[in-house]
């Protein structure tokens, strides 16, 4: 492969991976409990995608192919953890991948809408999200920081996410109109 076509291939791979990465992350973070393990699995998926990119059939959605590779890496992870039973069965991993592929066309619009929705949240809600996601804090640590209980934080976070999901949906509906 000459330099120019190699550069073109790399640029194509980078662009496709950037688009698919959030869905791959969602998939892996759902199936792998520890944040650090999930990050490592995502990294392994990225490396596999890069190594096997010449096998990718451009006629298929890239995200479907990346999620197919991610499924194998998740199962490898379960095996390394010596799980007797998979937390996610192979069938469920496939169903989840299919659902994520269906949602891919709206990904960037959803992310932009979410940014706007976060801005609209009350300060206390944003603080809870920041503690939870910026610092990867456990429920207990978040509760300690806001002088509340873990149970209460769980409920609050559930409600905040529901509000955000509704807000994102509403923003997307307006865009369609």
């Amino acid at each position: 492969m000459n330099h120019e076509s190699e550069i073109e291939t790399r640029e194509r791979l980078t662009r496709l991976w950037r688009e698919a990465e959030p869905s791959v992350q969602a998939y892996v973070f759902a199936a792998v409990r520890s944040v650090q393990d999930a990050e490592d699995v995502v990294q392994q998926v990225a490396l596999t995608v890069a190594r096997r990119f010449d096998e990718y059939d451009g006629a298929r959605p890239f995200v479907a192919w990346a999620l197919w590779l991610a499924k194998s890496r998740v199962i490898d992870h379960y095996r390394r953890q010596e799980r007797e039973k998979l937390v996610f069965s192979e069938a469920l991993l496939e169903q989840l991948a299919e659902a994520l592929v269906q949602r891919q066309p709206q990904r960037s619009a959803r992310q932009e809408a979410l940014e706007r929705c976060i801005e609209k949240l009350p300060a206390k809600s944003r603080q809870l999200l920041e503690l939870r996601y910026e610092e990867d804090a456990s429920m207990e640590r978040v509760a300690e920081a806001v002088q509340s209980t873990a149970a209460s934080v769980r409920v609050l976070l559930f409600r905040i996410r529901n509000l955000l999901a509704e807000c994102v949906q509403s923003q997307l509906s307006k865009e369609v109109l």
Partner: protein, 436 residues
């Protein structure tokens, strides 16, 4: 689905649901299209929130750095965790693109090219240049050495030296921290002490090395990474499973893509002055140049250099890369050393023999070349002949490294240059012959 089930899914995505309950919950939702759809939506929301909030954190840090009076107080540990995903993503993209991702350092001259032989290319903003001059200062980018006997020595501003040899490709950047991606080939480095919290990072497709100051060699091979440490200590991480190992001086380790293999370090053997490799009963390692069938080693074409027009010059050769044996073997060149081959060609054409060397302390030792005229070859009735070349016949390719004596051979290459003479070798030998 009821609200309790939805909450449980959220808890699971927060990592706050015990594993047994996770498994039970997932068994319940399997095949339930509505529940799977909710799980997908929620998993995306969690992922987007993580991504979005970490990005906000990074932006706030950038703002805080620009305005000291607004600086936030965050513990070093939490700061690391906050940066971890962007850093991981950047590293992954680096490997995917190997174009450049450390945008902030693009305009800064990072490295100086201090020595070179053979064809070297450097990417500048996506365009490749092959007209590099010794002493030229390079911005963050990608440098490629083309050809088995090509090498490039590079120096960071703090005096850290890098040497690329053979067919290698290295992306580099320094923006408070030295970040390297070795996409292929071999890199040796003499690293000046680095800040402990900002070690030099070298990534390959299968491993990451963290270096705070040491002398080492790293070879990115097709399915693994071979690290040989001469001085100091290098922390090697296998990307396949995240396992790490500290590799001390005079030791080596292999990080394979196969995480089933144990990651451990072994002591590097003392240098040998006499060594022989018999291709008639030993299969050559995969990363040696040539084709081995267990009975002989046949020459393979390789890119020896590239002309300014982009046209490649192909040679036909066989390499013995002792540095890529496991553990790496060190062959010491002495003043009475002789390089011997038993070989065969279909025509008595001239041969080129190259020695690629490193210093005993681990740095780059120079490349050396000897020519054997076709008329000097005396094949027997079956076409086989023995070639013996004393070390004194090897000429340096760079005035900075005048003699291979006292150096370690990392690779020995024999080629019939541009003619395919079906060069076949059955034996390679390094021998110290006091009678010379």
């Amino acid at each position: 689905m009821n609200d309790t089930e939805r909450q449980l899914i959220d808890l699971m995505l927060d990592g706050a649901l015990p594993e047994v309950e996770c498994a039970n919950l997932m068994a319940q939702i399997e095949g339930d299209a509505e529940a799977v759809a909710y799980l997908a939506d929620r998993a995306l929301l969690h992922s987007d929130l993580r991504h979005s909030l970490k990005r906000r954190e990074v932006r706030q840090w950038a703002t805080a750095a620009a305005s000291p009076q607004t600086k936030r107080v965050v513990s070093p540990a939490s700061r690391w965790f906050a940066w971890r995903p962007p850093m991981a993503a950047a590293a992954v993209l680096a490997l995917l693109a190997a174009g450049w991702f450390w945008v902030g350092s693009r305009e800064v001259r990072v490295l100086a090219l201090v020595d070179a032989s053979g064809t070297i290319s450097w990417s500048e903003d996506g365009k490749w240049r092959t007209d590099l001059a010794i002493g030229e200062q390079l911005k963050a980018g990608t440098i490629e050495t083309v050809g088995e006997a090509t090498s490039a020595s590079l120096r960071f501003r703090d005096g850290t030296m890098l040497n690329l040899s053979g067919d290698s490709e290295l992306s580099f950047s320094e923006n408070g921290q030295k970040l390297l991606v070795l996409r292929k080939g071999s890199l040796s480095a003499q690293v000046k002490p680095q800040p402990k919290d900002k070690p030099m990072l070298v990534r390959t497709a299968s491993a990451e090395a963290r270096v705070v100051g040491t002398v080492f060699n790293l070879a990115a091979r097709s399915e693994d990474t071979l690290l040989k440490v001469d001085e100091g200590l290098v922390n090697l991480k296998r990307l396949a499973d995240g396992s790490t190992i500290d590799v001390p001086a005079k030791s080596s380790a292999v990080a394979s893509l196969d995480s089933g293999l144990k990651l451990n370090s072994t002591t590097t053997p003392e240098p040998l002055a006499d060594w022989r490799f018999d291709f008639t009963h030993t299969m050559a390692p995969r990363d040696w140049r040539g084709f081995s069938d267990g009975a002989c080693m046949m020459a393979r074409p390789y890119v020896a250099s590239r002309k300014a027009s982009g046209e490649v010059v192909t040679h036909f050769g066989i390499s013995v890369r002792t540095a890529q044996l496991v553990p790496p073997l060190s062959l010491m060149v002495r003043d009475k050393s002789v390089i011997r081959y038993r070989l065969k060609q279909t025509q008595n054409k001239s041969l080129q023999i190259m020695l690629l060397t490193s210093k005993t302390s681990g740095g780059y030792g120079g490349n050396f070349e000897a020519r054997v005229d076709g008329s000097e070859l005396k094949p027997d009735a079956d076409g086989w002949c023995d070639v013996a070349v004393p070390v004194s016949a090897f000429k340096p390719l760079s005035p900075k490294h005048l003699s291979p004596v006292g150096n370690i051979i990392t690779s020995a290459l024999i080629s019939s240059l541009q003619t395919d003479t079906k060069l076949t070798v059955v034996r390679f030998e390094l021998k110290s012959e006091p009678g010379l």
